[in-house]
Amino acid sequence: MERISTIHEINDLINKKEITYKEVTNAYIHRIESVEEKVQSLLKFMPEEALKKAEEADESGNTLSPLNGIPYGLKDNICTEGYETTCASKILYNFVPPYSAAVAENLNASGAILLGKTNMDEFAMGSSNENSSVKKTFNPWDISRVPGGSSGGSAASVAAEEVVFSLGSDTGGSIRQPASFCGVVGLKPTYGLVSRYGLIAFASSLDQIGPITKDVTDCAIVLNTIAGHDKRDSTSVSMEKKDYTTFLNREIKGMKIGIAREYFAEGLNSQVESLLKEAIKTYRDMGAEIVETSLPYSKYALSAYYIISSAEASSNLARYDGIRYGYRTEEFDNLLDLYKKTRSEGFGEEVKRRIMLGTYALSSGYYDAYYKKALQVRTLIKEDFDNAFKSCDVLLSPTCPTTAFKIGEKSANPLEMYLSDIYTVPVNIAGIPAISVPCGFDREGLPVGMQLTGRAFGENDILKAAYAFEQATDFHKKRAVI
């Protein structure tokens, strides 16, 4: 059982009848029992339910779906009917959703087995998992470091081999940054490709659910299952389904890979930079054409992002009032007092800071100066990408300016923490897809991620480029030792 760890490897063994689904699930349950104490990636662990489903999978003998019998984790902002979904927030500590998210339904129908709900920064606001109101998650490569965020539990659980794959959500880099810090593959799909029905909203015009996996093949397999139109999400796009696994081949000769000069400028860690340069060389050796390009407005993306995402969050989080679900304060004088005490006691510090920023940006007298301005800059950033994609098929950049930082290192200064997302937020602002794949290790053995960004609905291009790179290297095969 040692070392088999991807969806496609498990399927090979199942097809050869060398292993049963129950053995697979049992192996992951044992793994969780032995490493979870150190990693702390899970908020909920469901071994009994998982084993029962695994036995059913063995009995039915159905091997039609590649996800049948595969144990996985779900970020705790994705609703699961009958099982607590808390967003790692005190305000939802007891919330049991009356329905499941579309992605949870899709995975369930595919036969995949939910093994746990994963830790996160409260309401997906954060880049380190230190904002979880429940506990901190630790990076499996070095437990003195953060796993990244906000889908830190999802990335750490895959890196620690506690689950085969997981789903996260990405509003400004929350799938890709932790994937980069934990040495796994993370994809943020095009806005509208995956239904957000049942995803607890942070910033609705930016949020998107995506897979975190061990390799690119698994990423394509999971994307096949979760992508598609859903009438319950009016921003979900109706288009012909693609089989993303058909784009996985090494033939990338002539593919145009763009390098934006702004992404290799000040603030980028020199070890990260040199590994990225190696990656560019790998692509050149494979016959790809390297094209220099420019995203002149990208330096304004973070400013625009914090206004837009906080404004949307302040509106979305107005629903937590202690009336219909979640936490309610114990003592209050009247309705207004109930609202204020419930919200002030129920939300953590970062969430309140963003509600405050967003409320301010939307308030009378400041709306034009901040919110409208940020939406105008959003247009410029989107046009930047449109222009860049006239001369290339995918853009290559670092996922993050650094490797995983120490726990506590950035928690005192919110602005410094925000800078961790500098390469990932422009992608959400433009609504386009991007994937983070491992591209090496720094001198301390910490993983470094490379981000490949594509045109809207160009998941096939970035998966193809990522797969070719993965086949030419073996960074994805190295495992964290816990």
Binding site: S303, I355, Y360, Q376, T379, P414, G431
Partner: protein
């Protein structure tokens, strides 16, 4: 843009939040820092740029106007901190 304590208290009231004096001082400082960082957006002349609220070219999404079942009352109420006779119970609103 330097915020004052009064600004922070006003915004907190709009957001239905309340803070201690120390928290207000901290927010004055942190939100001022963030808004100063936001000042860089003013380097850009956007007078002729249309705002993008949404990246997709999807506008109104209509469905057939037919009645379909929605969430059961029981399920809708299952998480309520307080309920009474099949309704959410709230403190008295009108004196």
């Amino acid at each position: 843009m330097k915020l004052t304590k009064e600004d922070v208290k006003y915004v907190a009231d709009l957001a239905r939040l309340e803070f201690t004096n120390e928290e207000i001082d901290r927010y004055v400082h942190q939100l001022t820092d963030i808004l100063e960082y936001e000042e860089q957006l003013n380097e850009l002349d956007t007078s002729n740029v249309a705002p993008t609220a949404h990246v997709l070219p999807i506008h109104n999404v209509f469905r057939e106007d037919v009645v379909t079942p929605s969430l059961d009352r029981e399920k809708a109420l299952m998480n309520a901190p307080e309920q009474d006779k099949g309704c959410f119970k709230v403190p008295k609103v009108i004196e």
